[in-house]
């Protein structure tokens, strides 16, 4: 115990003396939380649309007004030939192309049906996909208007199923409410994991670890002496993040803050344990950096921040259960947005406790004082 106090004293002095670490811990999370949620936007706006109107009728104009008035589309071309419109797609000036055929109004009135042609530039998958869906909705709305127009005398419109959706936990579908907890989860992971991994390797490079290894220090004391300071830093990052989410994005955790911290405490032990384990395998900071990058990239992209783990292939879903980031993102969203309680997240806490024990155990085992 006494040994750990000496280790902690030394470690904290070195951290406070290292300005870049202080900046990393205090400034980076704030800046990233201010920037990323603004940029990483799920909502697709400004879909560039080119329209070929071969009909020039009042209905075709009505449809076009409906599209431009929806707020999602930007009319970048109003053309008379498919070929001309296609060249806009090739030049990347249009994401969608809507062709209104000649006789649109006439066929609609006489025959009661008419086809429209939509071409989608699928290079940007999300934009194309969502743009197509939006366009479908706008056309359906226009269709309903036209229907009312044509058959007002009929008792009610032809039967149609209409759905009303209530968006629970995020009523305005504000994507920031969804992204901010996830980004905070990643910041805590990155800063904690990288700092611990690099710290021990730095001692290897400087040769100071040899001076430690030649003392009768216990291996678990040494590992704890490294774990605790970065665990404290992880908590600082997390707290700063919560403050930013509250002040800037108005996100107030629905669930218990204490529960959230309880989970973060276990989570940090697991992630720092991972960093420590990586450091025992590396001899240079460069190696440690690349290995951490490799894993953090996988953790983040497969952790369900950008793409839901539920829509991943089965093997990836299985893999994501071994990814600590998955659990943190889930729990952050559950507790912050949904107000989940201890009972709801106890299983995930258990899994992370297991991760923490295994990873730190391996780190202690693999740290060799005698080679």
């Amino acid at each position: 115990m006494r040994t750990i106090l000496f280790l902690l004293e030394k470690e904290f002095r070195q951290i406070f003396r290292n300005r870049s670490i202080m900046l990393l811990v205090l400034v980076m999370p704030v800046i990233q939380l201010l920037l990323l949620p603004l940029a990483a936007n799920y909502e697709v706006r400004n879909v560039n649309i080119a329209i070929i109107d071969n009909d020039h009728s009042s209905y075709s104009r009505k449809l076009i007004t409906g599209i431009t008035a929806s707020g999602y589309f930007r009319l970048t071309g109003y053309l008379f030939s498919y070929k001309g419109a296609m060249s806009l797609i090739e030049k990347d000036q249009a994401d969608l192309l809507l062709e209104i055929p000649r006789g649109f109004e006439r066929n609609l009135v006489r025959e009661g049906r008419q086809q429209l042609f939509v071409a989608v530039n699928a290079i940007n998958g999300t934009k194309a996909n969502l743009g197509g869906v939006y366009l479908g909705t706008v056309i359906k709305a226009a269709n309903d208007d036209i229907r009312l127009d044509l058959a007002p005398q009929q008792a009610g419109a032809p039967p149609a199923i209409d759905t009303v959706t209530a968006n629970w936990y995020n009523p305005l579908l504000n994507y920031r409410v969804y992204m901010v907890p996830g980004i905070l989860a990643i910041l805590v992971t990155m800063i904690g994991g990288f700092l611990t991994a690099l710290n021990i390797v730095k001692e290897k490079e400087a040769g100071t670890i040899e001076q430690i290894n030649v003392t009768p220090i216990k291996k678990h004391h040494f590992i704890l002496g490294k774990l605790i300071p970065f665990w404290v830093l992880g908590n600082v990052v997390f707290t700063l993040g919560l403050i930013v989410s509250r002040l800037i994005y108005g996100i107030v955790p629905q669930g218990s803050i204490l529960l959230l911290y309880g989970f973060i405490w276990i989570y940090l032990l697991a992630v720092l344990g991972f960093g420590l384990l990586v450091s025992t395998f590396c001899d240079t900071q460069q190696q440690a950096m690349f290995i951490m990058f490799f894993f953090i990239m996988i953790f983040v992209l497969m952790g369900g921040l950008f793409t839901s783990t539920d829509s991943m292939p089965e093997w990836a879903q299985v893999a994501s259960r071994f990814n600590p980031v998955t659990y943190l993102i889930e729990v952050m969203r559950m507790v912050i947005l949904k107000g989940s309680g201890l009972k709801d997240i106890a299983g995930r806490m258990g899994v992370l406790t297991l991760f923490a024990i295994v990873l730190n155990g391996l780190a202690i085992f693999n740290y060799r004082k005698t080679s």
Binding site: T3, R17, T370
Partner: protein, 246 residues
């Protein structure tokens, strides 16, 4: 002969096909200043790391302060001090903080650390620098500080790996005075060096060539045996046949 504190018997370290240290056997007795000489790459550092419990031998036996190098490395570590070739105090800690840290992990009590630290700083004349970062000190002072920290916990044996490399002659002389003082207090000194004048200061020296101990005796006997006027010539006569170098 006095009690032996270091005993090695055919101690060997292999890295794959390469035999870094090849069946070395010798004894060092308490309070002795033992010079461990050899050309670069002769296997000195490897041997020293095995004796310090930093590296497990491939074969052979050794006991340090009565403890076995295979099974009792942690007991060995309590009883030795080590100063590596590479300066290894924390450059981003002050002189006092380094003393406190290493005193602490060797299990010294806080009052004892304070008392020893004050004496150490006074002996080294570092009063002005006590609160400066170690990284800012000149090399000679760093090395003297390193040595003082290595014997802070009163070890039975201290291992010094080229402690005076790159240090000016005046500081080297001061350094050797510190070594003598420690030896007078009964600390066994195990030192490697490339300076042949320093070899003359040792009670006994061994000379390693290509992983083997080729000669082991007092400096005077060695010079006599090789019919040489200086240790330089003795070293040259032995190391000339070396096949490996860095």
């Amino acid at each position: 002969m006095k009690e032996a504190v270091i005993t090695t018997d055919k101690l060997t370290k292999r890295f794959g096909d390469f035999v870094a240290t090849n069946e070395i056997s010798f004894e060092v007795s308490r309070g002795e200043i033992f010079g461990f000489l050899g050309a670069n790459g002769a296997g000195k550092t490897t041997a020293m790391r095995m004796l310090c419990g930093l590296s497990t031998p491939s074969s052979g036996n050794a006991s340090i302060a009565g403890f076995d190098v295979y099974r009792q490395t942690e007991q060995i570590k309590k009883n030795i001090g080590y100063m590596s070739q590479k300066f290894s105090l924390y450059e981003d800690l002050t002189v006092l903080e380094n003393i406190r840290f290493f005193g602490g992990i060797y299990g010294l009590s806080r009052p004892r650390i304070r008392e020893k630290g004050e004496k150490l700083i006074k002996d080294l004349g570092l009063e002005q620098e006590a609160k400066k970062l170690v990284g800012a000190l000149p090399l000679g002072w760093k090395q003297k500080l390193s040595f003082s920290v290595a014997i802070l916990h009163d070890p039975q044996i201290v291992f010094l790996d080229e402690p005076t490399g790159g240090v000016d002659p005046v500081t080297r002389r001061q350094f050797w005075n510190m070594i003598y003082e420690a030896a007078d207090r009964g600390v066994t000194i195990f030192v490697t060096t490339h300076y042949m004048d320093e070899a003359e200061y040792c009670n006994r020296i061994s000379i390693m060539v290509d992983g083997r101990v080729k000669a082991l005796d007092t400096p005077r006997n060695l010079k006599e045996h090789f019919g040489a006027a200086t240790m330089d010539e003795v070293f040259y006569a032995l190391a000339r046949g070396a096949k490996r170098s860095e």
